[in-house]
């Protein structure tokens, strides 16, 4: 039922045109955690040379969705219900990495945690928790 990283990426690129345009890559995933990478794009830069907040929020949201696909298969109707982000330090102009952990998977919703980094820097740039509502009847633990 679960999907490989390549399958997850294909589902996301088909369903989220913004993710495809931005070149979102699913690097790893084993059903409980996943790593996504957002290649650096000049257009996401804010004054001061840092990556914009909405870029980080968009990556976190897509990466949580990827983790759910990886675990549950094609639950394309899963939708974000809540997202809480703490911005920690200004990201350098570099690829962004999102490490996602599913911290609870219930029948009706999933709770996830995302830690965001820039490539080559061990300081976390943002920390996210989110709730995804799962479609009724599609839950497959």
């Amino acid at each position: 039922m679960s999907l490989t990283p390549e399958e997850v990426q294909a589902v996301i690129w088909a369903g989220l045109p913004q993710a495809r345009e931005q070149g979102l890559i699913i690097e790893q995933g084993d059903g409980g955690s996943i790593r996504a990478r957002q290649p650096f794009d000049e257009k996401t830069i804010r004054p001061g040379g840092t990556i914009s907040g909405p870029t980080m929020m968009g990556l976190a949201d897509a990466a949580m969705y990827a983790a759910i696909l990886s675990r549950l298969g094609r639950v394309e109707m899963a939708v974000t219900q809540n997202l809480n982000i703490n911005f920690l330090s200004r990201p350098e102009p570099a690829d962004l990495i999102a490490d996602v952990e599913i911290i609870r998977l219930g029948r009706r919703s999933a709770v996830l945690e995302v830690r965001l980094y820039t490539v080559g820097n061990e300081n976390m740039v943002a920390h996210v928790t989110g709730i995804y509502a799962l479609p009724a009847g599609e839950e497959k633990r």
Copy 2:
């Protein structure tokens, strides 16, 4: 010290290229609250005809920044510290409206609330609270 809606929009367009590209408009603002409008753009559509979550998060973030500029003047180094969003209903393909209220303005931070709607529909599509860190020494109540 406070700025008019037109001045706020000019500061935002100068500083946030994404906001300028997306045509973000500051419609009203009186120093304590503000209304921003995100014109509809086909590129922000998700399967099912709804507007993407990151589009709503980006609008909420820019609108909170606009409310701070409107109240405090050119505090360009204000940065988002926390953003919490609850998605309430799927937005129709239409202009998004963000109504922002500053619920507390302290010396070091501001707490804001944003209610998101689509034009012509009274159902709230998302509810946001956020914390902006204010630059030391620039606080002007």
Copy 3:
């Protein structure tokens, strides 16, 4: 189906021994919003003479539950799924007031907002949003 403030208070006192001990009062409620009051208690004081954070979180949580009971009737299995609180100013040693608004009521969950004050002071002391999960099959819009 909806309950009067007196009925809501009786359900809460029967089900939440802590609320009964603390003397939580439901002052008003009309199915969409509710006001709860937490009488002042010396035991909730922190050094500096301010009311403790957990006291405010407990009141907000009980008041959200009260708003759901007021609107939906006896959905005793409703449970808090998420609570996000921003502390705004130190509350004086006085009764706490919680004004709750149901901002979305869905089949499976409700999203609520709570504004906390102390009696006789117009400055908000804390702002809360929360998600309550509603028991399957009990939803009654």
Copy 4:
């Protein structure tokens, strides 16, 4: 500058009467992370035999404060600015454990994560993130 678990517990018991009454114990702490334990108390039980939400929120808040004391020493004026909690599963009637990690320590604020468990059960019962505001001039990285 940092404190031992015993010193942290003494500061908390002196400053937070509720924590002393509830017998909060600081079990471990090394300046970057800490473990706190809330002994089981019949009074915190909700109908259904589960521990109340406010009990978990209170423990998380006190444990975050303990982690800051452990790292920075006696910054007694540190105050909670934001707390976001996701309730994951109903805790059994047993001691609660809070594992805290400081995920960012800045000059003006700290961001922390707390994972709550009951003793002898590996399922997380709640996940918390929080922001503590640090007193100006006391920051010591």
